[in-house]
Amino acid sequence: MTKKYASDYTAQEMIVVAGARTLEDNKVVFAGTGLPMVAITLAQLTHGPGIVPVFEGGAVGPKLSRGLPLSVGGSRTTYRANYLLGLNAAFELTQRGFCDYGFIGGAQIDPYGNLNSTMMGDFPENYQNPKVRLPGSGGASDMACSCERTIIIMVHEPRRFVEKLDYLTSPGYLDGSPNAREKAGIVGQGPYRVITTKAILGFDDETKRMKLIATLPGETVESVQKATGFELIIPDDVYEFEPPTEEEIRLIREVIDPQGYFVAKKIKE
C-alpha cells in the first residue's frame, strides 16, 4: 500500500498525527483532556490497537469506540474498561509505575520542559490576583512527575516558549542540573517529547535543555527557532517530519472528532 499524504490539514491536526505516531503500541498512556485524547484514539485506530488509556476520572483501559470523550471523567471513557474506580486509584497506579507515558499540555513551557497551566503574572507577588488565571494543574503536574515519561503537546508561539515560566505547574527537568528530578523526590524519568504546531522536540541527555528533533511540514529550523522564546539545541540530524496521511486526517475528521470539539476548538476560546 502506498501512502497518500494529505494536502490540506490544520496545525492542530498535524499535532494530533505527530502525537499519535509518537505512542508505542501496548503501552499504558495516561491521557490528559483535549488533544491527547484525540491522539490516543488515532494511535489506537492505526498502529497502536494495544494502547491502554488511563483517564484520571478513574477509567483504565477502555475501548474508545463510543465517541470522543468530552471529559476525562465522562461516560465515554468507561466502555469495556479493565478497571474503574476514581481519581485516587488512577493517580496511585501512576505513582506506582503502571503508566508508561503521560500526555499533557500547558500554556507555557521552558527550556527544561517545565510547564505552566496555573497563572500569568508575578509569582508569588500576584498569586492571589494574577494577570490571567488559568484552570490550574488538574492532574498534569502529577502525570509530569509520576508517569515514566511524558509527552507534551503545545501551540508553538514565542510567548508560550519562554526562558522562565510565570509559574511552574508541571515539573520537567526543573533547573536542568544533574538528577534534579530524583533529588526533588520525583519518580518518573521526565519529558520525552514536545510536540508542537511546528516541530517535534526532545531534550539533550546531558544539559536537559530542549533540542529540535524534526520540523513539521512547511517549517524550517529557522522558523521553529524564531517561534521559540529561548535558544534551542539544533543537532545535525534534524529531519523533516512525515506529513499526515489522507487516512490519518480522514480518521480525525470523520471518525474521531467529527464535531471538532478539540481539534477545531469550536467551543473553547
Partner: protein, 335 residues
Amino acid sequence: MYWTGLSPDEARKHLANKDKSKRDKRMSLKEAVQKYVKDGDNIGVGGFVDCRQPMAIIHEIIRQGRKDLTLTFPSEGLSVEYLAGAMALDENHLNIKRLELAYWAHEAFGISPLFRYLAENGKIEIEDWSNANMSARLKAGAMGIPFIPYRSPMGSDLVKTNRSKVIDCPFTGKPVLLLPAAHPNVAIIHVQEADMYGNCRIQGPTFVCPETSMASAYTIVTCDRLIEHEEMTRYPNRISIPYFSVDAVVEVPFGAYPGNTHGIHYFDEKHIVEFRTACDKLRKGDSGPLKEYYDNYIYGVEDFGEFISKIPYKQLQHIQKIESGIRLEAGYTAL
C-alpha cells in the same frame, strides 16, 4: 498549621459522637441545605469537572444564600461556576471566600469565565494543589489519618504556596511530600442510585465522592433514583458510600443537569453553552444575561424540579438518548 473545615481531631470527635443508626434520611433539599450547610462552611464538592455535578444542591444553596464559603475539590466545572455566578451577581447574598482546588474549567466546553473573573479581581483566596493531592487529602480525611505522603508534584510552585511539606522520608531518606488531610464541614454529592438510609451505588467513575463523603462532617446526597434498600443490599460489593456516612437523601431526577451523569444522561451542550456564554459576558462587563439566567432558572423557581420543567422535554429526551449506557442494572456501567 491551620485547618480549614475540621481538624483531624475535631473530625474524629464529631463522628465518634454522631448517631450512626440506620434510619430514614429522606427530606426535601430545602431542609437538607438549611440543616447541613452553614455560613463559613468548607464544602466538599462531589463529581468531576462537568460530570455528576451536585447541581440540584448547588441551586438550593444559591437560592438560600450562604456566606464565606470554602470550596474543596480536585476538579470541578459547572457546580462551582454556578456558585461563582451567584457571587458575581450579588456578593451580599452568596460569597466564596476560599478555594482549595486543582482545576476549575470545563474541558471541551472551555475555560471558566468566572474563575478568571474572581481570581483576576482578587476576590477569592486560592490554594492550588494537584488533582492527585486534593484526592489524596480527602482520602486521608476518609481514612482518619492526619496526613498522607505523596510523590508528586515536588519541584513545582504548587508546593511553595500550599500547606504541603517536603520532608526526607524516614525510611528511604529521599524527599517526599506530606499532604494534610481534608475534612470539609459538608459534602455535596450526586449519585445515580441511593436508598432511604443513604447507601449509594455509583455507576462509572467514582471520582472522589466516597472519600469526600467519608472525610466530611455531614453529607447531602441527591440521586437520580431512590431504590429499595433490599435491592441495594443484594449487591454489597457495589455499595460505594455506606449509609452511615450520609445525613440527607433526596431523590432529584436530572440532579446533575446540565452535566453528564454516567448511565443516565449525557451533557446538554446547548444549555451549558447558554449558561457559559452568560458567564463570559459578565466577565467582560455585561452582567445582564447572567442575571436573567439566574432570575429565570434559579431564583424564579421553587425547586430544581421546576428548573428542569423549564427545559424542553425534547432536549431532556435527547441527552438521555445519546448517553452510552442507559441501563442501570447493578454492575452495569456502559452497554
